[in-house]
């Protein structure tokens, strides 16, 4: 065992503790908020936690951008016995997205939450918010399979509470939260059954160790069952097309600030877990033995892209329309996975980030419109683009990025995805990607038409949203443009992550060999 070493101990510095601090800061702040009480204090602490997380995740990302990884041993127990936190390019990138969104959402929430939730619930609201943040960061940071489940449930349970807080505006938030709870718990339980099967075969919970022991176990039916359970379980959390039923209601009835955070991060963390298990724990060769995923995942991905976009076209509520558009966008990420190439995975990783900031900008605009118009039915937000020029412009920018117009972040990810499709000689998939983007043009145009080409609704408050909402919204909208022009950060991180993930076992090996198995699948 690792503890009783004979060599003199070298004291760890703050830098060594970064992986645990990433999770520990919000974890400590959540009970502090409850203990100290006070609404303003709660908001301040929540902001402090997310800002510190952002700093930590940025430092981590800078350390692992070269394709190396950091391993942190909880309690000093070395892996595979102890729990390991393992940061590499793939999860540092997702950690950065999550903490960035949190840092934007908390200032935004100040006015939005005050408007939508009664004051007595604010303290616990922010405590729950930091718990969701803890859970999501933990899911992504940890290298231990069971830890993933625990953090997943921490974030999910707090999310259900946050979603149900929409009840003060619409009682349907309660049934939405309940449905989400039932489906989310089934998903998490499926996931834990899968981990149980993996533990049966390998006798370990450390993901890197698991990956090594699973080599050559592709014919083992327990492993195959584990794979099926994990993919279906996480599929529920990701909202893969036929398993997406909880998502529209949950996004629609949750308080605006919660929707921003959920849309930008929670499905993304689940996509990351799916990637991690598919590519790092199970070997890509195992998964893609007979092009299995291309023929199972790709149809669902394409269905999501078209069916969900079509439903979005016929919505009469901006917020609900964006929820359906989210399901469609998850389709693009799945498509990237199912193409099974470094380019495809890069597309998934970069779309994960780009879609995150795009949806953050759009849902923040929704929150601003809710504040001024009361709700976001198209007849209520008519002409609001003219009285709220900044919010309206943010919707336009976010919409352009959602469609994938050149010069925006959305274009980059779709471009890489089309490239991946051509690389795999599937030109028709590339065509379908472009075709489904046209559907996005239709549903975004409807909103923009309503916002600009009508006269404002008389009952709405004709005033620009407060600065505390506009500034985070514009940081997100600005990021859509920035990352559409300067792609060195996003594409660099996504590429390194994709190479690490496609490396399969080598990507998780105890000594890093970057891109060791590149081209193995071709």
């Amino acid at each position: 065992m690792a503890t009783a070493s004979e060599t003199p101990h070298i004291a760890l510095t703050l830098r060594d503790h970064l992986p645990i601090l990433q999770v520990l800061i919000p974890l400590c702040v959540a009970p502090l908020i409850v203990l100290l009480g006070g609404r303003r204090m709660a908001w301040g602490l929540a902001f402090l936690a997310s800002a510190l997380s952002l700093v930590v995740s940025f430092l981590l990302m800078m350390q692992v951008m070269d394709g190396s990884f950091i391993s942190y041993h909880l309690g000093g127990w070395a892996p595979p016995v102890g729990i390991e936190y393992r940061i590499d390019a793939a999860n540092a990138f997702v950690l950065f997205l999550i903490s960035l969104t949190a840092t934007l959402v908390v200032p935004f929430a100040l006015r939005s939450v005050a408007d939508e939730i009664p004051a007595r619930s604010h303290t616990l609201f922010y405590a729950c918010f930091t718990l969701v943040l803890t859970g999501l960061l933990g899911v992504v940071a940890t290298g231990d399979a069971f830890n993933v489940f625990v953090f997943l449930e921490i974030s999910s349970l707090s999310t259900y509470v946050l979603v149900s807080q929409g009840l003060y505006r619409d009682k349907r938030a309660l049934s939405a939260a309940y449905d989400y709870l039932i489906m989310g718990t089934i998903g998490a339980t499926f996931f834990v059954i899968g981990i149980g099967f993996l533990y049966m075969t390998t006798g370990t919970l450390n993901m890197a160790d698991m990956a090594e022991r699973l080599v050559g176990q592709g014919d083992n039916r327990t492993v195959q069952a584990a794979f099926a359970f994990i993919v279906v379980g996480m599929g529920l959390k990701v909202a893969i097309y036929p398993l997406h039923l909880w998502l529209p209601a949950a996004y629609n009835y949750a308080p605006s600030a919660v929707t921003v955070f959920l849309a930008a991060t929670s499905t993304k963390a689940a996509v990351y877990v799916l990637l991690r298990f598919m590519f790092s724990v199970f070997q890509p060769e195992f998964v893609f033995d007979t092009n299995l995923l291309l023929w199972i995942l790709a149809p669902f991905a394409l269905l999501a892209m078209f069916a969900a976009s079509l439903i979005a076209v016929f919505q009469t509520n901006f917020k609900r329309m964006l929820a359906y558009s989210s399901i469609a966008q998850i389709g693009y990420m799945l498509l990237g996975i199912s193409l099974f190439s470094v380019t495809g995975l890069s597309a998934t990783m970069v779309h994960l980030f780009n879609h995150g900031i795009t949806k953050a900008a759009l849902f923040m605009a929704v929150g601003a419109l809710v504040l001024r118009s009361g709700n976001t039915f198209y007849d209520r937000i008519e002409g609001m683009g003219r009285v709220m020029p900044l919010t309206g412009a943010a919707v336009v920018l976010g919409g352009l990025s959602l469609i994938g117009v050149p010069g925006t972040a959305g274009f980059i990810s779709k471009w890489v995805l089309v490239q991946a499709a051509f690389e795999a000689d599937l030109w028709w998939i590339a065509l379908l990607i472009v075709a489904s983007s046209l559907l996005a043009v239709i549903y975004m145009w409807r909103v923009i038409e309503v916002l600009y080409l009508h006269t404002p609704h008389p009952e709405a408050i004709h005033k620009e949203a407060p600065l505390s909402m506009v500034i985070p919204m514009w940081i997100a909208a600005g990021a859509c443009v920035w990352f559409g022009i300067d792609t060195s950060l996003t594409m660099g991180a996504a590429n390194t992550a994709a190479i690490g993930l496609m490396g399969g076992t080598d990507g998780m090996a105890l000594t890093p060999t970057v891109g060791g198995l590149l081209g193995n699948g071709h």
Partner: protein, 145 residues
């Protein structure tokens, strides 16, 4: 499939039966509380799977005797069961309790808001609200919605 194989894997058969029972209740029952009961059975099935994994034939409780110096003197002759799945399941049980109590709390609030805990009634009320919304907000759009 021989009888021995069946009896030798009795835990796993029961796990499957319990899991499917719970899952069926969640899917088929219209009563929200019964759904939670089903969810609990579903989760208990998983606990059983984990505990079954940890059992080593002839194994005893994994408590190692410690001598005066704090050194572990494990007897290599004795077979110990695997304690790790038990610890994992302790965590999973806690998660299950949290889920159950949150679900029940939501049901209490749903009962207050909807005055029913039958899924069919709730869906009907929701559908009625949605239709009413469509009429209000659709017509104002010039019938396009």
């Amino acid at each position: 499939m021989t009888l021995e194989f069946f009896i030798g894997h009795i835990n796993y058969w029961l796990f499957i039966v319990l899991m499917m029972t719970g899952f069926y209740i969640v899917v088929a029952c219209g009563n929200l509380v019964k759904k939670v009961v089903g969810l609990n059975i579903f989760q208990v099935a998983v606990f059983m799977l984990y505990i079954s994994i940890s059992k080593v034939t002839g194994g005893t409780a994994p408590i190692f005797p410690i001598d005066r110096m704090g050194k572990i003197k494990a007897d290599p002759e004795i077979v110990y069961s695997n304690p790790l799945p038990h610890v994992l399941i302790l965590t999973a049980i806690v998660v299950g309790i949290a889920t159950t109590s949150l679900a029940l709390a939501l049901i209490v609030r749903i009962r207050e808001a909807y005055n029913t805990i039958e899924e069919d009634d709730i869906l009907e009320i929701d559908a009625r609200t949605a239709r009413a919304e469509n009429i209000i907000h659709g017509e104002a759009m010039g019938g396009r919605a």
